[in-house]
């Protein structure tokens, strides 16, 4: 009746708050990587709306943290999504968001345990969420982190 299922590698970016110095280079890298021009100045100064935004940065005194989608193995946002815009790629295990199918029902905003999805009520749509930089070897935020606070974690799913 029950057969074994194939193991899958789960990839995600994690931030070690012990090392995060609040430089926000991860945010800069995310914006640039997801811009049309891939140019840091154009990405921040001329492209509208501003691209990227997959990293949520917080700071309180000396502690800082930049969190992006954890690409959960058991994503509540995918379960709750009313349209199927939020989906877990069956091949890569990545949690991907298709803005064309998003109607801004806010189910993901309501259910994400880490509070990562960013609503855009005026556009009636979710703002950009982390896509692990498509097929890139290393997500831009990880590559840009001077301190290995942002790290790429890969683990086999149980």
């Amino acid at each position: 009746m029950v057969t074994a299922k194939a193991a899958r590698r789960r990839r995600r970016v994690a931030v070690r708050e012990e090392y995060c110095i609040g430089c926000r280079l991860c945010e800069v890298a995310c914006v640039t990587r997801h811009s049309r021009s891939r140019d840091v100045v154009a990405a921040h100064k001329t492209e509208s709306p501003r691209p990227g935004g997959g990293v949520r940065f917080e700071a309180a005194g000396p502690v800082s943290l930049a969190v992006s989608c954890r690409h959960c193995a058991d994503p509540l946002c995918v379960e709750a999504c009313l349209t199927g815009a939020m989906a877990r790629d069956p091949g890569t295990g990545r949690v991907v968001h298709d803005p064309a199918r998003c109607v801004g029902c806010w189910m993901c905003v309501m259910t994400c345990p880490t509070g990562v999805p960013r609503p855009d009520p005026a556009a009636h749509r979710l703002a950009f969420k982390c896509d692990l930089c498509g097929g890139d070897d290393l997500p831009a935020c990880v590559a840009a982190c001077p301190n290995a606070a942002a790290v790429l974690v890969e683990e086999d799913e149980p």
Binding site: M1, L65, M110
Partner: protein, 444 residues
């Protein structure tokens, strides 16, 4: 035919059950019977469809590839009419009999139509609003008869969703709501007031504390409604949206244990061997320790479907209980609620509030024993999920009341151990040199 997993009802609970069962290794046949003609569509999207925001081909929440990948056989447009739990068979309206090893009842809800004087089957211009066919019929009616004088009976979730669609279509309905506010079950007075003001700006009047006592017809169609105070509202179109109730037609003649819905345990099992129930037809454990309830919302249907699918496939899966939650947007004002939003006085609840009616923003947190059990957010809903986490984790937040009321509540405001668990970063490596910490092998 005998199915290894037979599902009755083809909607969100069914799809999640099928995916979970396959994921857990169910190898045999998986059959879903649904009485609606179309393939899957997302029920909540019918308001966006009515409003013209989505086309008919944009309503499906799972693609054909999903069905292929999970080897799901769909019997569409077929209705199950009888269940024989002893023989483990289900009979369809056309007489076909299907056997099952495991059965999932995911029949959802049916609209409540109260007895109203003057109501009769087939009266033109009177609609319910829960299915795609309802949205099609309503749209055709509005196109043919014009959009003036539309009345929505019920200012709950479905009534407001219908209103959203109507407004987007240029129709300005009058809402008649028995309670003293819209979304009375999920929001509170202050939150509802903000949404009601937005509705007023959109030209949509809300008659509160009133219901429809009589429907008057002109020939074969509705012409007006009489409220319980005698007032007459012209009504060329009447949408009855006072709620849904579990669809129990299939189990009425069986020894199935039911209250309001089909009673299920934390694995979605019913009292009948091999029979599970999930979604809007099921009444299961409540996370906050209240009585088992029917919590008729999409995320709960998805989760319960999933748990049923896992158990039907022989894997383990258990719910800690469902939490009511909802998100809506009226024009440009979003709102989110969780859990106990209007605690009865004397229950020991503590209420934190930040009320900015003029700015259209409102935030309320309900605490019990220093733990969050209810949330209402209007206007600013960013990071709402963190509050859901605090409820699910039963985290002690008695020392961070101020943070809970801040719109920019973040992970750093959460207890450190909980935050670390959520972020789930690898443990810090010892610093090797000034250029930074060592990078372990699993970590790049």
């Amino acid at each position: 035919m005998t199915a290894d997993l037979l599902v009755i009802g083809h909607s969100v609970a069914a799809c999640h059950a099928a995916e979970a069962a396959r994921g857990a290794g169910l190898a045999g046949s998986l059959v879903v019977v649904g009485d609606e003609p179309a393939g899957n569509y997302s029920r909540p999207l019918i308001s966006y469809y009515l409003g013209g925001r989505l086309g008919r081909d944009e309503l499906s929440f799972r693609s054909q590839a999903f069905y292929d990948r999970n080897r799901i056989q769909v019997l569409a447009g077929r209705r199950a009419v009888a269940l024989d739990p002893a023989a483990r068979t289900v009979t369809l309206a056309d007489g076909e009999r299907l056997g099952y090893r495991s059965l999932l009842l995911a029949t959802g809800g049916e609209p409540i139509v109260p007895p109203i004087k003057g109501w009769r089957e087939g009266l033109g211009g009177v609609f319910t609003f829960t299915k795609l066919a309802d949205a099609d019929a309503l749209a055709a009616w509005l196109d043919a008869r014009g959009s003036d004088d539309c009345v929505v009976l019920g200012g709950g979730l479905i009534g407001l969703k219908a209103t959203e669609g109507l407004l987007a279509r240029g129709v300005r309905p009058r809402i008649v709501e028995l309670a003293d506010r819209v979304l009375a079950n999920t929001l509170d007075r202050e939150a509802s007031a903000i949404l009601e003001r937005r509705l007023a700006v959109a030209g949509c009047e809300v008659r509160k504390g009133r219901t429809v006592a009589e429907i008057r017809a002109g020939g074969d169609r509705v012409s007006s409604v009489v409220l319980d105070n005698g007032e007459v509202l012209p009504a060329r179109t009447l949408i009855v949206a006072i709620g849904v109730k579990p669809d129990l037609r299939l189990v009425r003649e069986t020894p199935m244990a039911v209250e309001r819905g089909i009673l299920v345990d934390s694995r979605q099992r019913t009292n009948l061997a091999g029979v599970y129930a999930a979604g809007d037809c099921a009444q299961g454990p409540d996370f906050l320790g209240l009585k088992p309830a029917v919590i008729a919302i999409w995320p709960v249907a998805a989760r319960q479907g999933r748990i049923a699918g896992l158990n039907a496939a022989g894997a383990s899966g258990e719910t800690a209980g469902a939490i009511p939650m909802n998100a809506v947007q009226i024009l440009d004002v979003p709102a989110v609620s969780f859990g106990v939003t209007n605690p009865a006085p004397g229950g020991g609840h503590e209420i934190l509030k930040r009320d900015d009616q003029a700015g259209g923003k409102y935030r309320k947190i309900v605490l019990l024993d220093g733990r969050v059990v209810g949330v209402v957010l209007v206007g600013e809903i960013d990071r709402a999920g963190l509050l859901g986490t605090l409820i699910r984790e039963r985290a002690d937040v008695s020392d961070r009341r101020d943070a809970l009321l801040r719109a920019d509540l973040g992970l750093l405001d959460l207890p450190a151990d909980l935050r670390r668990r959520l972020v789930d970063a690898p443990p810090p490596a010892p610093l090797k040199n000034s250029s930074g910490p060592a990078r372990s092998r699993s970590v790049r």
